[in-house]
Subunit: 248 residues, 2 copies
């Protein structure tokens, strides 16, 4: 049985403001919880229906556990169809971004990606292709938004997400800077080396003018048909694949 | 001023059952309407806020026009933030699928893609790469679902979508059949020729067992990192790009 204040605390975490204030976010479903337990993230508490009780001893020690009923779970869940188990997770302390991290690997930079689902899908895709770092502009969607977490399908603990003022970061970048643009060299004729930073822009506006100035290699995915643009997560997927094809 | 019955008719079209029964679906936003007007689709009626009035004569003739206020638009819109103008569009008559259409091009087959957003993104991506035909299993999401339409970003009129019993279609397919699977030949070592059919499966279950039997070329996107899988629309994007790279 949850107290009113517990319920209202968890519900407050549906909103970015309170997630940030408390440094805590919500994950849902047993699969997601199993991805977070062995990670560097620290679980705060777990809320579960009785049917999950037998699993819990194997799941975690030192975590506060609360058995809830369906009505309570409905109240605290961010999903229309709650998945029977939900956990609160502490946000890791933001470590200041270090440009040295970009060496000897490929990283993504997101300039104003708005849709949490797109951000989550990009994180999942980065994890598939072994990209470890994503640098987000301050106006990019929140990686702890429940919709983002849902779309990552458990990949969040394996990708480092930084929120930075891009205009401060970009001058310090020492690796080649690529930009996904509607005009540029064909992605199929671009030799991505072993290290670099790929910038992807906002869903409607693309990469902002200030940021474009830092792009050394404008690259485009050639259009054969008539769609006006590609979804940003699809672009990210095609770029990650193209960058990785020579590694494998 | 809309009548109660008009409002309830348009609201009924939020549901697949009534879209199918009436052969009509909803599109929203001026951009989407502008993509549909020059297409083979026939517009049924347009509902617009006063600010759009000046645009209408250039938009369309022989279409019923209804000026609405914000409250009315809120009622009939499928969006949380309605875009000021909404149209009803007649579904084209389903033409029976003809396997000859698969010749000399690449087509997609979707086996149980559930999420309307994924379906819409796949349609948009197919349009970008000039894929003209998508054959969907009967349990694939509805291409007239408002979330699908939203995700297509106006590409729906340029891609032919067929809903078919795949077990009836597959034996008639004469072009090479590729399947996007977790195990198979690397996509980077696969020579996709000038024609073929690529099958993509359900978000959780992948391609169903019966359909897998028809795959002549199992192909996989090699995993470098640790994500369990890729989003189906991301896979579709990477495959469409890989198939297209030799055309351009």
């Amino acid at each position: 049985m949850l107290s009113k204040s517990q319920i209202s605390f968890i519900k407050s975490l549906h909103q970015k403001k309170y997630r940030k204030e408390n440094g805590i976010f919500i994950i849902e479903g047993i699969k997601s919880i199993l991805e977070f337990i062995p990670s560097n993230y620290q679980l705060h508490s777990i809320y579960y229906l009785a049917e999950y009780k037998s699993l819990l001893p194997t799941l975690a020690s030192n975590i506060k556990l609360f058995e809830v009923n369906n009505a309570e779970l409905d109240k605290i869940s961010t999903l229309q169809a709650p998945q029977g188990i939900l956990a609160l997770v502490r946000q890791p302390k933001a470590t200041p971004f270090n440009p040295e991290l970009l060496k000897n690997c490929f990283s993504l930079m997101l300039d104003g990606v708005q849709d949490p689902g797109n951000l989550g899908t990009i994180i999942r895709t980065a994890d598939w292709f072994g990209f470890k770092n994503i640098i987000c502009s301050l106006n990019t969607a929140d990686c702890y938004n429940p919709k983002t977490i849902q779309a990552t399908m458990g990949s969040l603990p394996r990708v480092n997400i930084y929120y930075e003022n891009l205009m401060e970061v970009l001058p310090k970048v020492k690796v080649p800077i690529y930009g996904a643009l509607l005009e540029g060299k064909s992605i199929y004729q671009t030799n991505f080396g072993a290290e670099g930073l790929l910038i992807l822009g906002n869903e409607g506006q693309g990469i902002s003018g200030d940021v474009i100035n830092f792009i050394q290699h404008p690259v485009t995915i050639p259009r054969i048909g008539k769609a006006e643009s590609l979804n940003v997560a699809i672009s990210a997927g095609i770029f990650c694949s193209e960058i990785s094809r020579n590694i494998i």
